[in-house]
């Protein structure tokens, strides 16, 4: 087996709405290697979310090929897809999507509930470990409403990590955050990518966020228009240090 995590070939997704057909993806092909940090950029409506949903096995392509870790996704049924999401993928959403009135720790535990092989004790330990990785172990009993947006997103990242997935998919994960907090999240992503060799596919439409990745895929109107490695990948920790100490705007 190659060290390709993702292989997509001529991937198409069409939405039929009454008599109209919206062609959100018009044949997208690229591979992602193990340990890559890819950002997907493009203007609004270019099909980024549609692509990410396909990559995350939340949706099925109209045509084309998609192999995730060597598995042909289109042959799987709903339950097998759920299992795949549980074992191989960690999602981070723009809107965090944490369960309200539920502690950070319990939120992080959630994916492990759907893995019957994991005992209650192990579940707790792994959730705590994931929270430590995002430096929120001291906030484990806080509910989302008691956390800042950046902290909530870090809890969501911990939740994406807890199942030890082969790949993290993030859809505008910094979209709701200010510059400093965005950089903090990106620093965390870089750390996960470099230290733990996690593959990351990160959708954004901000070029300065894309600059932290090793490769950027540009989408326009449902097609890949540019796919280039990042020659001078920026370090998020350095960028964070370079920010003015007190932002007064």
């Amino acid at each position: 087996m190659s060290d390709k995590i993702l292989e997509i070939d001529d991937l198409k997704r069409e939405f039929v709405m009454g008599s109209e057909t919206v062609r959100a993806l018009k044949g997208v092909s690229f591979d992602v290697l193990k340990g890559e940090f890819v950002t997907i950029m493009g203007s609004s409506g270019s099909g980024k979310s549609t692509l990410l949903n396909l990559l995350g096995c939340l949706d099925k392509q109209t045509s084309g090929e998609y192999f995730l870790d060597g598995i042909d996704v289109k042959t799987l049924d709903r339950n097998q897809l759920a299992k795949l999401r549980n074992f191989k993928i960690g999602f981070v959403f723009q809107a965090y999507n944490l369960l309200p009135r539920t502690s950070a720790l319990e939120n992080v535990e959630l994916p492990l509930f759907y893995n019957s092989k994991i005992s209650g004790k192990e579940r707790r330990e792994r959730a705590l470990h994931a929270l430590e990785a995002v430096k929120l172990a001291d906030r484990q009993h806080h509910t989302p409403s008691q956390l800042s947006g950046g902290q909530q997103q870090r809890v969501a990242i911990a939740r994406a990590l807890v199942n030890e997935p082969v790949m993290i998919l993030a859809d505008e994960a910094t979209g709701n955050l200010d510059t400093r907090t965005s950089y903090e999240i990106m620093a965390l992503m870089q750390e996960l990518n470099e230290k733990d060799q996690k593959t990351i596919v990160f959708v954004t439409h901000e070029p300065d966020i894309a600059a932290f990745s090793s490769r950027t895929v540009f989408l326009r109107d449902g097609k890949v228009v540019k796919d280039s490695p990042n020659a001078n990948k920026k370090n998020a920790k350095d960028a964070l240090a370079a920010l003015p100490v007190s932002d007064d705007y």
């Binding site: 939340l58 759920a82 549980n86 994916p111 509930f113 019957s116």
Partner: protein, 409 residues
């Protein structure tokens, strides 16, 4: 996902909305509570009616005058006491004719004031034959019974029930041999009846004076008629035959022609028990209907709130699916939530019903029997209600599309 985790998640969801969960349960709580209480009362009174009827003697047959003649008041039926048809001649003929009944006692009763010294007590005097004590399974506690000779001579003697003794004599006086007055007629107390307590209908069976029927007829009522005739069938199984023989004999002595209605009624204890148990059978059908309706309403309440809950938590469902929940996991989560609501409601209802039954039995002194079957059945029905009414909302949740659920505002 294992069942304990599911229950845990469902519990958490319910606890997040305690008041709503409680309100949802209310229909079930009230329904189950009411059913348990009513079943307890029904079962209790049925049992106590039956046991007090058998205590009276299952062989007993009661004959009462009954006005059913066309001219008998143009639809107005007169009470038994005002109708005059049963006489001593009837009793004598019955004794000759009827083979399946062994003992007969006429009864003439009067109410009035019993007086001893300064004490007085309103009560009833029952004028009967000596065989009455056998027929009614009564016995004399102290003193002696009166004899046929006392009947012949209209002797001024009587037997007192314990309540009358207590009210006329107080605790430390031996009433035997003393003279009391009933409606001014002096009667000598020759015996005291063994206490029988209250019957199912709340009557004090010890609030009675018993005397020879001739004494009551001549000295108190000045009548030749009786209010009733009591008889005892040879065995319980021949009581219907005995009752037929009695009717035949009485029709002869009352000279009723073919086609003419009886001017009396004959009732066996078996008849009474049958009537009462058919009433209680109807009662339980009614109770089942009430239970069914209240559980239906409770179930609809659960269904409604589960739909609301699924809609409210669409994003949560989407999220759970995106991190690996299968349709069946989501389905079980909501189904268990519904079952938990209905079972908790059922449990509270059962506890409330038992509490109400205990309250009724200890404060209102109604006979109450809490039956385990009614508890088990209501509980099972509750769980089924949860499954039935939780199924559709849960299925709706399980079928959601993960992306659309995640996007739901």
């Amino acid at each position: 996902m294992n069942i304990f985790n599911l229950i845990k998640i469902a519990l958490k969801a319910l606890l997040r909305n305690k008041l709503r969960a409680l309100l949802t349960m209310l229909g079930i709580i009230i329904g189950v509570g009411a059913v348990i209480t009513m079943m307890s009362i029904g079962q209790g009174s049925k049992d106590s009616i039956q046991s007090s009827l058998s205590a009276m003697g299952t062989n007993m047959i009661t004959i009462m005058p009954y006005n059913n003649l066309p001219g008998g008041g143009g639809g107005v039926r007169l009470g038994a006491s005002s109708i005059q048809s049963l006489t001593i001649a009837d009793v004598e003929k019955l004794k000759r004719d009827v083979t399946d009944a062994t003992e007969f006692s006429p009864a003439a009763s009067a109410s009035g004031q019993a007086i001893k010294g300064t004490a007085n007590w309103p009560t009833t005097i029952q004028g009967v034959a000596p065989s009455y004590l056998d027929i009614r399974k009564l016995s004399v506690n102290s003193g002696i019974e009166f004899s046929d000779n006392d009947v012949r001579t209209s002797a001024k003697v009587c037997l007192l029930g314990q309540t009358v003794v207590n009210n006329l004599f107080g605790p430390n006086v031996d009433p035997i041999g003393q003279i009391i007055r009933f409606n001014k007629i002096p009667l000598q107390v020759i015996g005291v009846l063994s206490p029988k307590g209250y019957n199912t209908f709340g009557q004090d069976q010890d609030d009675i004076i018993i005397a020879p029927y001739t004494t009551v007829q001549k000295r108190i009522l000045a009548t030749i008629y009786f209010h009733a005739i009591y008889a005892s069938a040879r065995t319980e199984s021949v009581s219907d035959l005995a009752s037929e023989e009695i009717s035949k004999s009485l029709r002869e002595s009352h000279r009723l022609r073919e086609g003419q209605d009886d001017d009396f009624v004959v009732r066996t204890q078996a008849d009474l028990i049958k009537t009462l148990s058919s009433t209680s059978g109807m009662l339980s059908v009614l109770l089942t209907a009430v239970a069914g309706i209240s559980l239906l309403i409770g179930g609809i309440g659960i269904m409604n709130i589960m739909y609301v809950s699924v809609t409210e938590r669409t994003r949560e469902i989407g999220l759970r699916m995106s991190i690996g929940a299968r349709g069946i996991d989501i389905m079980s989560q909501f189904l268990i939530e519904a079952i938990l609501i209905s079972i908790t409601g059922g449990l509270i209802g059962v506890i409330l019903g038992i509490a109400a039954s205990i309250f009724i039995s200890s404060f209102l002194h109604w006979p109450v029997i809490i039956s385990e079957t009614s508890i088990v059945i209501s509980f099972l029905v509750c769980a089924l209600t949860g499954v039935f009414f939780g199924y559709y909302p849960a299925q709706k949740a399980a079928r959601l599309d993960p992306i659309e659920a995640l996007r739901y505002e």
